[in-house]
Structure formats: structure tokens, C-alpha cells
């Protein structure tokens, strides 16, 4: 309905934004932060499917997904530090943890998860590292010495204990990965002043989209790395990953839609603001891209790929495409939640706009650099630890 129809007073009241709502403070960096932590949590779930739930088909990517998770976890704080005006004060959060501050919890949740992931990698790779240490010389020998915690013992007795520790770490790692990412969702879901964010479904949606993006990320990098190194791709593994991707994506997509539907059905006093947001500033990024192109198409593609046995070449053609689409879908979802929630003014009468610049501190270029950084770190890790199990013929777990 046109505002002009209500006369001058309504026209004056239209697009009335409080001055403190004009600027979108949580920029691209805060879009990347849940995206990167989501990739970490999702990759860890893939590894746990093998180590805890014994999905044997996932063996080829079980170790790789841990290293993938580590590479992204190292960079998970970078967008936050770049967002802060005084990043050196971030450690105060660890020094004086405020028990009533949801945001201050991140330091401890992140650190605890980091320790668990690092320990699991140390134990899983220990026999490999011990073998590599014997062959290595110079600087690399020292690196492997540190990674092996100075031990050369790979006796049956020590490996048995390692195995128990690995199972324990993987088992507590699952709730911790869920906590890490559920917590990120909670940061948004717990902001009661923002009707787009404030829903108990938010941690769940974040968690499910995290699993989805992590699995998709593993599929893309696995196929890409295998193609580059000219190794044979384990089709069974890809097929299983696709099935899990579909399973998690059904839940993710359904909950995203349920959340929107419950807002629509309850139609409380905030709904008209949300409605104008979804039909106005978010129309393209939400309806056209996130839902129309990058959810509906992958949804049916994944369904076909899971239900019909594709020819190997066809499966390996569609798997990376559908995975990249899912990765874009999750990035769009983060954008629509993080930026979208800030576009509406608390006046509930207007919306602001957000256009990230290329070269500003929190602009597009820094965002690209931060997204490339984990890939570079993963490459460096790949120089030290072998990604694939059969590289040295030693089986760890």
C-alpha cells in the first residue's frame, strides 16, 4: 500500500529511522564469523561420523576434516579481531570473564574447543608423526618431535590407550562443536530487542546450517584436492557425504522456513516490520537467492543424488556444484540474518541500507583475505601432516 494514500502525516512518518540505527555496525566481518565457525563445527561432525558413529565410508576424509576444522578454527577469531576498534583488549575477556555476558563466553568456549581439537589431532596423527619424524631431518625433525610430544613409542599398549583417548575426545568433541556453534546462534537468538533474531530456533538453525556448510566444504575440498593431486576419488565416500548433506539440509531448510512461518502465523506486533524487511531490502538476497536459487535447486538435486544411483562421473560432476551452492546458501543465510536484522530501525517504521565497500577496514577485500587465509593455513598444515590415510600406510585410529 502506498504511504501517500494516508496523507502527509503518514508520508512524513515513513522511513523514519532512529539516528543510531542508520549505520550497520555488525558488518561483513560479523557475517564471516558464524560462517567460519560453522565450517569448523560441520567439518568436525564429518570426522565424528567416522570416529564415533563408525560410518566406515567416510574413512578417506576422517583425518582431513579434522585438519580442515583446525585451519578454519585458527581463523575464526580474525574477523572479530578486525571488527574490534581495540583488538588487543580482546584478551580482557579471558582475564575478567563476566558470567552474565553472553558475548564474553566466546573466549572460553572457543579455547576449550581449540584444545580438544588440537589434542584429538595430536593423538590421531601420533603414529604417523612418529614414522615421519624418523625420516625427517633438520627443522622438520624438531616440528615432528614437538607434535609427537617427544615420544617415539608406538607399541600396541600405547596405541590402545591412544585409541581410548581419541574416542573420548571425539565423543566430547561433538557436544563441544554443537555448543560452539549453538552459542554463536544464541548470540543472535538471545537479542530480544531484534524481532528478526530473537527466537529460540536461532541456535538450532545456526547449528544445522553449520553442519551443512561443513559437509559441503569437505566435499568441495576433497574432490578438488584429489583432482589436483591426480589421486582416485572414493565415490562411495562422496555418495555417503552427499546423503548426510541432504539429511542435514532437509532439517536446516525446514527449520529456516518454520522459523519464518511461525513469525508469519503468529503475526505479532513485529510482523509488519519483518514483512516489509523480507519484501523490501531482503527480497533479493533472501527470496531470490537464498531460497529460490541456492536452497530449492540444491534441495531437489541432493534428493535426486541420494535416491537415484547416479553414474560415478555424473555424481562427481554434480557433487561439487551442489556443495558450492550450499556453501553460498549458508553465506547468504548469515548475511540475511546478521545484516538483515540490522536493516530495520527500532522505530519499526523504516529500514536503512548497507553497501560494503571494497577497501574499507571491514570491507570486501579484507573479507576475501580472511576467507583465503584458512585455505593457505590448510596448505601449510598439508606440508606437515598427510591429509589422506594411505599416504604412509600407517593406520591410526
Amino acid at each position: 500500500m502506498s504511504v501517500a494514500a494516508h496523507g502527509g502525516a503518514a508520508a512524513a512518518a515513513a522511513n523514519y529511522i532512529f539516528p543510531n540505527d542508520l549505520h550497520v555496525h555488525w558488518s561483513l566481518m560479523i557475517v564471516l564469523y558464524p560462517y567460519i565457525t560453522g565450517l569448523v563445527a560441520g567439518a568436525f561432525i564429518v570426522s565424528s561420523l567416522y570416529h564415533v558413529f563408525h560410518i566406515k565410508a567416510l574413512k578417506p576424509v576422517a583425518r582431513f576434516s579434522l585438519l580442515f576444522a583446525l585451519a578454519f578454527l585458527i581463523c575464526a577469531t580474525w574477523p572479530l579481531l578486525n571488527h574490534l576498534g581495540r583488538p588487543e583488549r580482546a584478551l580482557s575477556m579471558m582475564l575478567t570473564p563476566n558470567p552474565t555476558s553472553a558475548m564474553a563466553g566466546f573466549g572460553y568456549i572457543y579455547s576449550a574447543y581449540f584444545i580438544v581439537l588440537l589434542l584429538e589431532i595430536i593423538f590421531i596423527f601420533r603414529p604417523t608423526v612418529v614414522a615421519l619424524r624418523q625420516k625427517a631431518t633438520g627443522f622438520m625433525k624438531t616440528v615432528y618431535g614437538i607434535l609427537a610430544i617427544g615420544s617415539d613409542n608406538v607399541s600396541a599398549k600405547s596405541l590402545k590407550l591412544d585409541h581410548k583417548i581419541i574416542s573420548f575426545l571425539a565423543a566430547i568433541g561433538i557436544p563441544m562443536a554443537c555448543l560452539l556453534h549453538g552459542y554463536v546462534g544464541f548470540i543472535f537468538g538471545g537479542i530480544k530487542a531484534n524481532p528478526l533474531w530473537a527466537t529460540p530456533l536461532m541456535p538450532l538453525i545456526f547449528l544445522l546450517s553449520a553442519c551443512v556448510s561443513g559437509i559441503a566444504g569437505i566435499i568441495v575440498t576433497y574432490i578438488l584436492l584429489m583432482k589436483i593431486s591426480g589421486k582416485e576419488i572414493d565415490v562411495d565416500c562422496v555418495q555417503t557425504l552427499i546423503k548426510f548433506l541432504w539429511g542435514f539440509f532437509i532439517l536446516d531448510f525446514v527449520f529456516e522456513m518454520l522459523e519464518l512461518f511461525s513469525h508469519f502465523y503468529m503475526a505479532n506486533h513485529h510482523w509488519h516490520t519483518l514483512e516489509t524487511l523480507y519484501s523490501g531490502p531482503l527480497y533479493n538476497t533472501f527470496w531470490v537467492f537464498q531460497i529460490g536459487i541456492f536452497s530449492v535447486i540444491p534441495f531437489f538435486l541432493l534428493m535426486l543424488m541420494s535416491l537415484i544411483r547416479f553414474k560415478d562421473s555424473l555424481l562427481l560432476f554434480f557433487a561439487p556444484i551442489v556443495s558450492i551452492m550450499i556453501l553460498v546458501q549458508v553465506l547468504l543465510m548469515r548475511w540475511n540474518v546478521v545484516v538483515g536484522g540490522q536493516l530495520m530501525s527500532k522505530s519499526e517504521r523504516g529500514a536503512t541500507t548497507f553497501h560494503p565497500m571494497w577497501l574499507e577496514k571491514e570491507g570486501i577485500l579484507p573479507a576475501i583475505i580472511i576467507m583465503i587465509a584458512p585455505v593457505v593455513i590448510l596448505w601449510i598444515i598439508g606440508k606437515i601432516l598427510p591429509f589422506w590415510m594411505d599416504d604412509e600406510g600407517v593406520e591410526a585410529a
Binding site: N15, L22, L95, L119, N153, S155, A156
Partner: protein, 184 residues
């Protein structure tokens, strides 16, 4: 017979446990070292921060502080539609001008095209932060074209900056015309 190793079967686990314990102890030690003494004195913040905040020198004053000396401008500014605009918003903080009752510096008075930039800080149509009824927002040079003046004109050629409608109202009065709308 099994191969002999230099390290014990559980050596690495023990070492890791020791590393974690040492790290935790160092963390607690570091916390004790870096934690401000007055942390938590009154609540969840550094108690001495209250003293620090109290010692921050006040740099801004109210318009009345300016009007104590600047009498002629007071008469104009307090009557016009800009009466709620702080003097310091255009001229800078009081502390740069007066310290301990003595004049310590000259505050800037915007000249030439700087004036246009200053006006557009609030009156720019791009900023949609406030409703039309509370602030006049314009686009340049559209506004000059509408008013049928040269597009090179500066804001203060038509508007007295302290009372933007002073001359406009006078001109209407001279011509015996009435102003549109409810402009005061």
C-alpha cells in the same frame, strides 16, 4: 619380541597432561598478575575507573556558556529554527576557546564552500534519519534550481546560518507574500 622404544608407553600422555596443567597454572598466575587491583570493588568493573572518569576534563559546554559573552548572536540564535542546534556543533568545543575563564584560542568560523559541507551534514536528502517535519532535507543542486538561483550559490547567501529563515521571512514580508506551510 616387540620393538624397544626410548620413551615409555604412556610418556606422551603424561607429558601432555603436564603441559595442560602447567598452562592452566600459568593462566591463573597471569590472571593474578594482569588483573587490575580494584577489579570487582563495586561491581563487575575496575573500581578505579570511576576516579578515571571523574578526572576526564570537560571539553563541552552548553549554549548558555557561549551566550554569556556573545550577546548579539544570542538574540538571533535563540529566536530562529536553529535554536536547538549547539554552538559547538559548528564551531568546535568550548575548551579550545576558554580555559579557566581566560581566552586561550580562536574557534573556527567556516568560510566559503566549507559552509555548504557543514549545512549538508544535517540537511542532506541522502540522510533519511529524521522525518520531514523535524528537519528540512534537500538535494544539491536541485534545491538551487527549484529556488531559481544560480547553482554556484552558497547556502549563506540566502540563509542566515544562525536563523536560516530570518532573511527569507523578511523577503516575504517585504513582498507582501505569505509563506507556504507552517514554517515559523
Amino acid at each position: 619380541m616387540e620393538k624397544r622404544y626410548k620413551s615409555g608407553d604412556y610418556a606422551h600422555v603424561l607429558r601432555l597432561a603436564i603441559i595442560l596443567i602447567v598452562a592452566a597454572v600459568l593462566g591463573i598466575f597471569a590472571r593474578g598478575m594482569f588483573l587490575p587491583d580494584t577489579m570487582g570493588q563495586y561491581g563487575f568493573y575496575r573500581g578505579s575507573d570511576i576516579e578515571d572518569q571523574r578526572n576526564v576534563t570537560i571539553r563541552n559546554q552548553t549554549n548558555d556558556a557561549c551566550f554569556e559573552c556573545h550577546r548579539p548572536i544570542r538574540l538571533i540564535h535563540k529566536e530562529g529554527v536553529h535554536k536547538t542546534v549547539s554552538c559547538e556543533f559548528c564551531h568546535g568545543p568550548y575548551a579550545d576557546h576558554i580555559k579557566d575563564g581566560k581566552r586561550v584560542g580562536k574557534l573556527p568560523v567556516k568560510k566559503g564552500m566549507e559552509i555548504k559541507d557543514l549545512c549538508l551534514r544535517c540537511h542532506n536528502k541522502v540522510i533519511k534519519a529524521r522525518p520531514e517535519t523535524s528537519i528540512k532535507v534537500i538535494a544539491m543542486p536541485q534545491h538551487l534550481e527549484e529556488k531559481k538561483v544560480q547553482v554556484t550559490h552558497n547556502c549563506n547567501q540566502c540563509h542566515m546560518v544562525h536563523d536560516p529563515l530570518l532573511w527569507i521571512k523578511a523577503a516575504y514580508e517585504m513582498m507582501g507574500m505569505e509563506m507556504k506551510g507552517d514554517k515559523k
